[in-house]
């Protein structure tokens, strides 16, 4: 019972951070549009993606 309560407390503790992160990401997507953000993310991690063998251009 105590373990379950601890898990609930942990979840309640990190829930505001999860919601804030989600809203911040949504705000950035609204502001710039996903089509402008995805190429940047693609380029930033391009070399890493190739190194771990994930198909790329």
């Amino acid at each position: 019972m105590e373990k379950v309560q601890n898990k609930v407390d942990v979840f309640r503790g990190i829930l505001p951070a999860i919601i804030l992160t989600f809203l911040a990401i949504t705000m950035i997507l609204i502001a710039y549009g996903p089509e402008t953000i995805s190429p940047v993310l693609h380029d930033i991690f391009h070399d890493f993606r190739h190194a771990i063998g994930i198909p790329c251009h």
């Binding site: 070399d47 890493f48 190739h50 790329c56």
Partner: protein, 139 residues
């Protein structure tokens, strides 16, 4: 042997182990890129930062899944279990990448040498994660 690590400790351990793996992956990739016909586009500084950051993210996710599945996996060795989980997640990522290549072959393509490279790095990540949690809070 039972893992006894809280979520804060597991995030910290995953981030440190993953960042270490990212750094090692960077060095390995710099030396092996000739064999892979891999043209790195980033500068050394940019690649060091992105490999360490991405490694840290991967480490946290992989370790979280390892912690969740640890009791259900066969065997006693945490390193072997880490490698199993690591290969499983990487396999899913690879399959999704192959699906991308299938639907958009003009943009994405599978490079066999890089897949082998990724396979070896994934085994390394699983081994590092297993070794890290083996040295931490295990009772």
């Amino acid at each position: 042997m039972e893992l006894n690590m809280d979520w804060k400790e597991s995030i910290k351990t995953g981030a440190i182990a993953g960042a270490l793996w990212g750094g090692l992956s960077f060095f390995i990739t710099r030396f092996s890129r000739g064999l892979l016909d891999l043209h790195l586009e980033g500068t050394i500084l940019q690649d060091v930062a992105t490999f360490i950051f991405a490694g840290g993210v991967f480490g946290i996710v992989y370790l979280g899944i390892l912690m969740a599945l640890e009791k259900k996996l066969p065997g006693d060795s945490l390193i072997v279990k880490g490698i199993m989980v690591s290969l499983f997640i990487w396999g899913i990522l690879l399959l999704a990448g192959i699906a991308y290549a299938h639907f958009d072959p003009g943009r994405y393509h599978v490079a066999f040498g890089q897949v082998i490279h990724g396979f070896i790095l994934t085994i390394l990540l699983g081994g590092i994660l297993g070794a890290f949690i083996g040295k931490r809070k295990v009772s």
